[in-house]
């Protein structure tokens, strides 16, 4: 086990104000306020950086920033560590300064432009040596000077001699591995089993079998770990397992004897996000590293036993990015990750949505940057170029990104069956994709795993030393005790459109079904709300600050408040209830549910004599719009009926939710709510009723359910957890 350096012993320069940086291009003068703005402007334009006000206004300004950046020395970057909001060097930045100072001494005087040229001329070993002497900010700065070919070229070179080892080896030259992700909305063991069998039959999962759990408790995570361990042992597949719960939960599971082979945690590039949002500190990660290397089931067998996930934009999405651009924050994650010599790091840039990466180009460029940066900083990078349906990223864009990343030597991709995650409602690479790319690029799985796959008739080695698919490839039934048992397992998998394959791809009939569902779901997001359909429902219109669907999707904050005109037209009405209807992320949810839901809800409220304002119809709204309306109209309760973000199922893309936002006046209720929530400034408590669509909670029944919940809230003067406590008999 590598001994971790005490963070306090890492030398870090004092914070010094940087900039301004100026440059003249022809007759134009460009000025960048400080290093943060210079770094932001030098990057490719991406939605998150635009939202943060860090992007260049255009190509010329971007090149001006790159020009300035090219002239800055590494010593300059070393001397000017960006600080957090309080002028402090946070713990993540501090750990990033744990670099090889002797190597740094040899390159400190180089400008970034000179460094770039040096890197392009250097072999793999020298590149890795240079990477070990650089902080995340330095690596991010260099990355902003690299074009697509350079990002691919350098990353590919870095694949030599950088593999990691647990039960199997990861990242050997000539390999493309995968993490098998058997997610299910309720962690159903049968569904997990079938998805694992399916992935293994496709040669997937040699990097990891890793579940994103739906329920993060010690009992549930332990159960899932034992189950996955049993399935892996039954198949005999040489790989490692993980359940991606919070690191504290996993440590508790390990203490109870659960097979925590690889320890997982999501990382962030600022302490504010890492600790404030992820509830993780460097000290906790240090402790976890020591525990897994001392007590884990693979301790001694594997040199690398940790697994991190990162992705551009998480810090910005929490507004805790310390005024740093997304690439910089991401590189700071890697500076933290390398401290623990992880088995694997998975990058999920694209997962958040259009507020950070709007389209195929932004997602692809960000992935290539992240992949290079991680490799340069010594990490076994796997990539998950992924998307949600409310971004403009398409499956074709994702496939092109994956092709480029394979050329760049990515160590692994995900295997999400048919690319549709059944728990997280996003789209990722599949086992079919992984095999296709192995065939296109002449790559193979980890050697230990390949031996096993050959023995199970999944692969065969040909006379030229290559690997070919055998008939068992893609046939999960080979792992089931009987055909009927296999059928029973398959029934537990939602969105299973068939198991037929055509070569390494799904059969056309399977693809068509998956794509039809996806297309209908996506259409639900981009369909505009047809207000004319609700003529009989007596609605009044109130526009949000999002003037178009594009604005609405790109900036969640705009849909959270009314436009100035709409706000000016409303005044306090002091009713008991105000209903607000919005398309949110699915106009079809409103079109298919409102006619039956709203009359029932109104009948229910009227039956108790509650006063209600005329229902508002607010296109392009977000859940938080409830509070904007609440502050203007001053009702006791706002009922927000809003379309949910669609996943990959056509019917569920018409799913509506009801957010019941109880407005807390100052006084006893607010104090009680603050005590329960831990937030002294709490102004609204929420109860939620979701999954409203004909095959879920039918709209007429939902109207009745929402009405009863509203009555409970108004009668008890509480919502959310506090209401449930009151109903259960506890004092409010």
């Amino acid at each position: 086990m590598y001994k971790l350096k005490d963070p306090d012993s890492i030398p870090v320069p004092e914070f010094k104000r940087s900039g301004p940086y100026t440059v003249r291009l022809l007759d134009r003068q460009f000025s960048f306020r400080d290093l943060n703005h210079l770094l932001g402007a030098a990057d490719f334009s991406k939605a998150g950086d635009r939202g943060a006000g860090l992007s260049a206004s255009g190509e010329v300004e971007r090149e001006a920033a790159r020009s300035v950046l090219s002239g800055l020395t590494l010593q300059h970057l070393y001397d000017h560590p960006p600080c957090d909001g309080q002028g402090r060097i946070d713990s993540v930045m501090r750990v990033n300064y744990d670099i090889d100072l002797s190597v740094f001494a040899g390159i400190a005087a180089l400008s970034l432009g000179e460094l770039k040229d040096l890197c392009l001329r250097s072999p793999a070993a020298r590149l890795r040596e240079i990477g070990s002497a650089m902080t995340g900010v330095m690596v991010a700065a260099l990355t902003k000077l690299l074009d697509v070919h350079e990002l691919i070229l350098l990353a590919k070179r870095l694949k030599q001699g950088a593999d990691t080892r647990a039960r199997t080896r990861l990242g050997l030259p000539g390999t493309l591995s995968s993490r098998l992700q058997p997610n299910h909305p309720t962690d159903d063991p049968d569904a997990m089993t079938r998805l694992i069998h399916t992935g293994l039959s496709m040669g997937s999962g040699d990097a990891l079998i890793g579940l994103n759990p739906a329920i993060d408790t010690v009992e549930s995570i332990s159960r899932a770990l034992h189950h996955i361990d049993q399935v892996r042992r039954e198949t005999g597949a040489p790989t490692q397992i993980c359940v991606l719960a919070h690191i504290k939960t996993q440590l508790a599971c390990l203490q109870r004897g659960a097979p925590v082979e690889i320890l997982f945690q999501s990382l962030a590039g600022t302490e504010a996000t890492l600790t404030g949002e992820f509830d993780v500190t460097v000290a906790l990660l240090d402790e976890a590293y020591e525990v897994i290397h001392r007590d884990g089931p693979l301790a001694g067998e594997g040199a690398n036993l940790m697994y991190f996930e990162t992705g551009q934009g998480s810090e910005y999405s929490y507004a805790k990015h310390n005024n740093l651009d997304m690439t910089c924050c991401e590189a700071l994650c890697y500076g933290l990750a390398r401290r623990y010599r992880p088995f694997m790091v998975n990058n999920v840039t694209g997962f958040i949505g259009p507020e950070t990466h709007l389209n195929n180009t932004e997602m692809t460029l960000a992935n290539l940057q992240d992949h290079f940066m991680g490799k340069f900083m010594g990490l076994a990078m796997g990539m998950a170029p992924c998307f949600t349906l409310h971004s403009e990223v398409t499956i074709e864009g994702q496939q092109m990104a994956t092709g480029l990343l394979t050329a760049a030597g990515a160590n692994f991709f995900m295997d999400v069956y048919l690319g549709i995650d059944r728990m997280l409602a996003y789209f990722d690479t599949s086992g079919h994709d992984d095999q296709t790319l192995r065939e296109v690029h002449g790559l193979r799985t980890a050697p230990e795993y390949e031996d096993w796959a050959v023995s199970r008739g999944i692969f065969v080695r040909d006379e030229d030393g290559g690997v070919q698919r055998r008939p068992n490839w893609g046939n999960p039934d080979i792992f089931a005790p009987s055909a009927l048992a296999a059928k029973r397992l398959q029934e537990a998998v939602p969105a299973h459109y068939g198991a037929d394959n055509a070569g390494p791809r799904p059969a056309n009939a399977v693809t068509r079904l998956a794509r039809i569902n996806q297309a209908i779901a996506r259409e639900a997001i981009y369909t505009d709300l047809r207000a004319g359909e609700f003529a009989g429902l007596d609605l009044r219109r109130a526009d949000t600050a999002a003037r178009s669907k594009a604005e609405h999707l790109a900036d969640p904050e705009l849909g959270a408040r009314l436009s100035a005109d709409a706000a000016a037209a409303l005044a306090a009405e002091h009713r008991d209830v105000q209903i607000v209807v919005s398309d949110g992320l699915s106009a079809e949810a409103v079109h298919h549910n409102l006619h039956e839901l709203l009359p029932v809800l109104q009948d229910g409220l009227d039956s108790r004599g509650y006063t209600r304002g005329r229902t508002l119809l607010a296109p392009c709204g977000r859940v938080k719009l409830a509070e904007s309306v609440g502050e203007l109209l001053r009702p006791r309760l706002v009922i927000m009926l809003i379309g949910e973000r669609p996943g990959g199922d056509a019917l569920a893309s018409r799913s509506l939710s009801a957010y019941l936002a109880y407005r807390l006046e100052r006084g006893e209720e607010q104090q009680a709510a603050a005590a329960v929530s831990g937030n002294p400034a709490i102004a609204y408590e929420y109860s939620v009723i979701s999954n409203i669509y004909p095959s879920g909670l039918p709209p007429a029944e939902a109207g009745s359910v929402i009405a009863e919940k509203a009555m409970q809230i108004l009668e008890r003067g509480a919502a959310g957890n506090r209401l449930e406590q009151v109903l259960a008999g506890a004092p409010a």
């Binding site: 063991p189 009927l484 029932v600 009948d603 229910g604 095959s695 039918p698 007429a700 029944e701 009745s704």
Partner: protein
């Protein structure tokens, strides 16, 4: 084990007191929404407690109540649960045990001991057949929805066949074919006991043996041959030979053509599947009965054994106890009309008939009048007339208005709840419109998302996260 550790799961209990052995199974299950409403699902990992079967405690006068009570207490203590944690389940006294004079009293004792959530019943062959099918073969049958599955639940006293398709029982029966009509000193064929049916069988075969006599292997073979021929006739719908018709106490009506799989459950079923998996048989008569010999004879029959290897039910024969745990109750939807949850559980509610949308208030009143003679609560099924489909809001309002009109002048006392069972997920909205949002008829309860069944009584358990278990009996 606390409720907070359940994470949305519910605890189920199944108890089976048979002619030879008694079994218990305690398992968690997860309510999951499917196309047919909410179903309980559980896996091997969810089983909390499933000890080896023990011999059913008999005394001279029937089932030994004291020993049975101790057995129950021991099981619960070992499992670490108390009865109040159980969401649903069932206890069944079957076969020869059910024919003991105190069987009903024993069922009442179990019910009292294990709480009101449990359905306890003795000597109801159709229910036993149904549960055996649901516990063992239903999952298998759903995998081949176009093929009938005939499950033969062969225990000590009776064989309870059930024919099903796509997970649902179509018909059931009961035959006096079982391993324990002839009891032996273990390890030999020396008779230690004979049931009345066993005596009759031997007499008819010209084998007038008495207790203490040792039967020859040939005599045992003659007995098992009768059973096997009867089972073959049952399976092929040929009808029992006239001389042996008395074996059919509740003959099974097949009357269906097409492919048919045969599965087994009960003690003999367990022996068959164990042999199928390992190739081994236990020592002949080691259980002191005909079980092993009968299983061997069945295994030799090409008609009966044809699906033994290819269609093994998930529980390998231990069907009844699983059926009791998982399938003795249906699970309602989670949005019920239940103004006074404290009125639950409701036990032994008579199911008086079906109310239909589209009926006039006058017609509805006539059906509701059936409740007039009942002192306690009553239950009706409610049919919107649209199959599984959800009725529209206009239809719901109209149907509710008609029912509200029909209920005018009828006082529903709190101790006499009127329970409506719906197939669709519309319980709360329908109940609210019938009662003008709870302002009238507060003793109305509407349970939704439960299948309509031909049953005489229903038992509705306490609510858990908005759902209730619904058990039908008197099928």
């Amino acid at each position: 084990m606390s409720d907070t550790q359940c994470h949305g799961r519910v605890l189920l209990l199944g108890l089976d007191f048979g002619s030879t052995t008694s079994s218990v199974l305690i398992s968690y299950a997860r309510p999951e929404r499917g196309n047919q409403g909410t179903v309980l699902r559980c896996n091997v990992q969810d089983v909390v407690y499933r000890p080896a079967p023990v011999f059913t405690p008999f005394s001279e006068h029937g089932i030994d109540a004291a020993a049975l009570g101790a057995l129950l207490d021991g099981w619960l203590a070992e499992a670490g649960i108390d009865a109040s944690q159980v969401f649903a389940g069932g206890a069944l006294v079957t076969g020869l045990a059910a024919q003991q004079s105190n069987a009903q009293a024993i069922a009442a004792l179990i019910s009292e001991r294990l709480g009101e959530q449990l359905l306890a019943n003795a000597g109801e062959p159709a229910l036993e057949s149904w549960l055996a099918f649901m516990g063992g073969s239903a999952a298998l049958s759903r995998l081949e929805p176009d093929c009938d599955v005939l499950n033969l639940d062969i225990g000590g006293g009776t064989t309870n066949p059930a024919l099903g398709r796509d997970g649902q029982v179509l018909s059931s029966g009961c035959y006096d074919i079982g391993a324990r009509h002839l009891r032996f000193v273990p390890g030999s064929y020396r008779l230690s006991g004979l049931s009345p049916q066993g005596k009759r069988l031997l007499l008819q075969l010209g084998l007038p043996a008495r207790c203490g006599d040792t039967l020859s292997h040939d005599a045992v073979a003659q007995v098992t041959a009768v059973y096997v021929r009867a089972l073959e006739a049952l399976v092929s719908d040929a009808g029992l030979p006239p001389a042996w018709r008395w074996l059919g106490t509740l003959p099974l009506q097949l009357s269906r053509q097409g492919p048919r799989r045969i599965t087994f459950s009960g003690g003999v079923g367990e022996l068959l599947y164990a042999h199928s998996a390992t190739g081994d048989w236990p020592e002949t008569s080691c259980y002191g009965d005909l079980g092993v010999a009968l299983a061997q004879a069945i295994a030799r029959s090409p008609v009966l054994s044809r699906d033994l290897h290819s269609h093994c039910p998930p529980q390998r024969g231990r069907a009844t106890v699983c059926g009791l745990a998982l399938n003795s109750s249906e699970v309602s939807g989670a949005s019920l009309f239940l103004p006074q949850p404290s009125c639950l559980p409701l036990r032994n509610l008579p199911v008086l008939g079906t109310l239909r949308a589209g009926q006039t208030p006058q017609a509805l009143r006539q059906v509701l009048a059936l409740a007039d003679s009942c002192q306690s609560g009553v239950c009706f099924q409610y049919d919107f007339g649209c199959g599984q489909a959800m009725p529209g809001l206009a239809q719901i309002r109209c149907a509710a208005a008609a029912l509200a009109e029909a209920l005018k002048g009828r006082e529903l006392a709190a101790q006499q709840p009127l329970v409506l069972l719906l197939r669709q997920n519309a319980g709360k909205v329908f109940g609210n419109y019938v009662t003008d949002w709870g302002r009238s008829h507060r003793a109305l309860v509407v349970i939704d998302e439960v299948a309509a069944r031909e049953a005489r009584f229903v038992h509705i358990g306490r609510s858990h996260r908005g759902m209730v278990p619904v058990s039908y009996f008197g099928l």
